[in-house]
């Protein structure tokens, strides 16, 4: 597996008059676990969208590995090994859970340009293994549209993992999960191979401190701090924004 550094340099995103991000620099070396935190509306999701290629920044550059990814469309960045989850679950609602995961696995193995019902043994075995590991094997034949919230969130993450990314962007995986589901999700994320670069946005600070090696803090589209968990905790501006919650 290739290692992928994720970095944005001088990124500004404007929606009309609102600047969702202003001149943000974030550099995540290959294999690092980075958390991005900040209050609601700080620009965290926007940042992930810029890295993933869903939003073109008004200004600034995005690098994946050594490559300038700024002009690349989302699907090309995915081919470079970038995976992501969405803050609001986005699944394939009409398809079964197994078919959902199959699409993700197939994307990596040979894409969708096969015009006859192939017997894809490699794909099928892998899908079964992944459903098992994610604890959702019993849901395999259920339609995604009929899943409960927690089940959707877990499938959301499994879809991203099934693509076996070298760099993974995760948007609020814990939101709305029960205690048991949180533990399961945390385990899945901690089980990721060491060399996978992870950028995680999360409000649950316990999860953040359990996972992250470094933390970046956004507020109103501006990066106000960047450092190890201890440094960020001690930073007066962060304490101001979080009103002592840390």
């Amino acid at each position: 597996m290739t290692e992928v550094r994720v970095s944005v340099a001088g990124v500004t995103v404007r929606f009309g008059a609102v600047a969702a991000l202003s001149r943000v620099d974030i550099d995540v070396p290959a294999g690092e676990r980075r958390a991005v935190i900040g209050p609601n509306g700080a620009g965290k999701t926007t940042l992930l969208n810029v890295i993933a290629g869903e939003l073109r920044p008004t200004e600034g550059l995005v690098h994946l590995g050594e490559q300038d990814a700024t002009p690349l469309p989302a699907w090309r960045r995915a081919r470079l090994g970038l995976g992501r989850t969405f803050q609001r679950s986005t699944l394939f609602d009409q398809l079964s859970v197994a078919e959902n995961v199959t699409l993700a696995v197939r994307a990596r193995l040979h894409g969708g340009w096969r015009f006859w019902p192939a017997r894809e043994r490699a794909v099928n075995t892998e899908v079964e293994g992944r459903l098992e590991a994610g604890g959702i094997a019993h849901l395999a034949r259920r339609r995604a549209a009929g899943l409960g919230h927690g089940e959707r969130r877990i499938l959301e993450i499994e879809l991203a993992l099934a693509a076996v990314p070298s760099a993974l962007l995760i948007d609020e995986p814990m939101a709305g999960l029960s205690g048991a589901e949180r533990r399961l999700t945390l385990e899945r994320l901690q089980a990721l191979p060491e060399d996978v670069t992870v950028v995680i946005v999360e409000h649950d600070l316990d999860a953040v401190f359990a996972l992250a090696q470094r933390i970046s803090v956004l507020d109103h589209g501006v990066k106000i701090a960047d450092g190890t968990p201890a440094e960020v905790r001690a930073n007066p501006r962060v304490q101001e924004v979080y009103l002592g919650a840390i």
Binding site: W75, F115, A163
Partner: protein, 316 residues
């Protein structure tokens, strides 16, 4: 789970009944009804290709008649230049449909949903305008007339002529079955599942590394070429190709056939095509104001049977 087993139960049964019923038509039906059944089969092929777009790729094209009509004109032009082999005529219809579908798809697919619908409608009417106005090629509203029925080497040896209604009906039935099998295969293939994924959630598919635009375009071109084949058959069946074939109401009727029959089933559109064609040709023979009645029926259908005929079967 339940749905899966249920599906497996009703589908082959319905298919078998449908095929047998259709195959027996030439044995008992009067000539006029064989003709209508032939037209309905051709329309069914056309509607199935649209269902592939609408039901699987999630693309509501309102300009599908363009490819149908272009296929008919291509077939007519070639047939009038003394090409009489069945296979070349069908192939040229398919090629023409695909050739036109590629640029129209490339432009229309820059948008989605209702915008896509509007664009395909507009492009379809543009081609209709072209068929009316490009008189040196199409002879305008008079259309190309006097297209002979094609020949097929093996059949000639057996002394079967496609000039007769029975054999031509069977030809259409065979093409319809082949189309069904082809589309069914595509729908179950990785390609078909990819299209369904894009229909359900394009963002996610792109995030997984699928170039959605290319897949959609491929689906659009495939559907266009099958519509072209249906157009070829229509030209052979009628003996003429006129701009009427490209008119927007033809696209609309096909959409109605798909929705009335039940989208994303491939069988539904066949039922729908028969319902619409019998409604149209059947009514127009007996009552003068058929469009009025048909229009009213559509309205009632949209209001009261949202899931289509297949939906009724599934529920029963």
């Amino acid at each position: 789970m339940i749905r899966g087993r249920f599906r497996a139960a009703w589908r082959p049964g319905l298919l078998a009944i449908l095929t047998l019923a259709l195959a027996s038509v030439p044995m008992w039906a009067p000539r006029f009804w064989i003709y209508i059944a032939t037209q309905a089969l051709i329309f069914a092929i056309f509607a199935m290709s649209l269902d592939f777009l609408l039901g699987y790729a999630g693309l509501p094209s309102f300009g599908h008649a363009a490819f149908y009509g272009v296929g008919a004109y291509a077939c007519a032009l070639l047939a009038l230049r003394q090409v009489d082999g069945l296979i070349p005529l069908l192939v040229v219809g398919a090629a023409a449909g695909a050739l036109i579908a590629a640029p129209i798809g490339a432009l229309s697919l820059r948008t989605t949903g209702i915008y896509f619908l509007m664009l395909t409608l507009a492009f379809g009417q543009m081609l209709w305008g072209l068929a009316v106005n490009w008189t040196s090629l199409t002879r305008g509203t008079d259309g190309l007339i006097g297209i002979p029925r094609p020949t097929l080497a093996g059949l000639d040896a057996l002394n079967i002529s496609l000039y007769e209604r029975g054999p031509f009906f069977f030809l259409c039935l065979v093409v319809a079955i082949l189309t069904f099998l082809l589309l069914e295969m595509l729908a179950r293939s990785p390609f078909g599942k990819t299209l369904e994924g894009i229909r359900d959630n394009e963002r996610r598919m792109r995030a997984l590394g699928y170039p959605s635009f290319r897949y959609r375009l491929a689906a659009f071109v495939i559907a266009g070429s099958i519509a072209g084949i249906a157009g070829s058959l229509a030209a052979m069946s009628n003996g003429y190709a006129t701009p009427d074939l490209l008119y927007w109401t033809v696209s609309g009727l096909a959409l109605v056939a798909v929705v009335v029959g039940g989208a994303r089933s491939l069988i539904g559109p066949v039922l729908g095509a028969f319902a619409v064609l019998f409604g149209q040709l059947g009514l127009s023979t007996y009552v003068p104001r058929w469009e009025l009645i048909l229009g009213t029926l559509f309205i009632a259908f949209v209001l009261f049977v949202p899931r289509g005929l297949v939906g009724l079967v599934r529920r029963a």
